[in-house]
Symmetry: C2
Subunit: 189 residues, 2 copies
DNA sequence: TAAAAATCTAAACATTTGTTATCGTTTCTT
DNA sequence: AAGAAACGATAACAAATGTTTAGATTTTTA
């Protein structure tokens, strides 16, 4: 759980004792490639922290077409975060893209953190802020960059994404078909 | 400043004295319709709270085309929130859609709140969480609803939007042309 | 209040993007 | 290691969406 410890300690001050208590209520879990961690209609009761591997957040439309909303990799928190916060049934699915090793953080211990930790709300604020920025960045890129620049710039956040994720999922992340992405790659701009 | 007081007190416990100090460092400001509150390339140093009126967040692409990112109305906080948090030059513009009366909350007093208020971080967390949900909802709607349902459902968040906002801005919010929106309206679904 | 500007619809046409199918290659499964 | 499945490129065609223009209203400005 070292990576989670480092991530939390980079954001807030927390005693060893408190951290130990927090972690003792978390759970380590391994998933194989393409497994579903979280399904629509079920109210999410936990946030995942990725120690190793990769996850995508996706939504399946009425016609059964999958649309990728986010990718997440090592040292990121991931969930249907809106549904988690609103205590409502999730809309997104979470699916592993590789064999993935996560820490499961139950809602109960997160809420304990908000109430009992000196800087619990600060941690929550920072995570929410980062996630907001994380969601906002591709929106900005959509309008500020050409398709070619977008194709290149996605590696800034996900250094090796073009080796780790099939192209058709990147296409679905950008709202285009794989065929169209393949065409764009062969253009100059 | 009553509406801001109510909004804050609905989220956290705060003494009269603290609230008074906070508000004394805020500023009330009036803008006419179509005025620009915040421009690209300038690092935003404040968050706006709308007391009366309506604001849109937009991005202008390389070809000069404007894309609406958000609408915001009474009792909402609004800013290029990513840029504000990252202390980076903003990418979005903020523009009034009506004569608008806002409270300007400078970064300095917001940071004072995080440091000095018992529940300052909690307030920041809740605002970030709400804004996240606010940004996530239309993404979910994009895939879960038909265009007709989207046209109707936008009034759930903005009850009178079709009277307050010209249709071509709603079109730009959905990433389509005004002509295309006009066509969609004449379809059944 | 008159002129100017903005708004919405509509039509004709152009362009972009999607769909389907095929093929060679790579990756997975057993 | 062999067969099956997934993947990415490409082409031909179809469908969706954009562009341009015009005209009838409404709203704003002076």
């Amino acid at each position: 759980m070292e990576s989670l410890v480092n991530t939390i300690r980079a954001m807030i001050a927390i005693s060893d004792k408190e951290l130990e208590y927090f972690l003792s209520h978390c759970l380590e879990k391994r998933f194989k490639k393409n497994e579903i961690l979280s399904k629509p209609l079920i109210t999410p009761n936990e946030i995942f922290f990725i120690q190793k591997g990769m996850i995508r957040v996706l939504i399946t439309d009425e016609e059964g077409v999958e649309h990728t909303i986010h990718f997440a990799q090592e040292n990121q928190f991931i969930a249907d975060y809106s549904a988690f916060m609103l205590k409502r049934p999730s809309v997104y699915s979470l699916q592993t893209l590789e064999d993935t090793f996560v820490i499961v953080m139950p809602k109960s211990i997160i809420e304990w953190g908000y109430q009992e930790l000196q800087e619990g709300d600060k941690l929550g604020r920072l995570i929410a802020e980062y996630y907001f920025i994380y969601q906002d960045t591709p929106i900005k890129n959509m309008f500020a960059l050409t398709p070619k620049e977008r194709y290149d710039s996605i590696t800034e956040v996900f250094p090796n994404i073009h080796n780790r994720v099939p192209q058709h999922m990147i296409a679905s992340y950008w709202g285009i078909t794989p065929v169209h992405l393949s065409r764009l790659k062969n253009q100059r701009k």
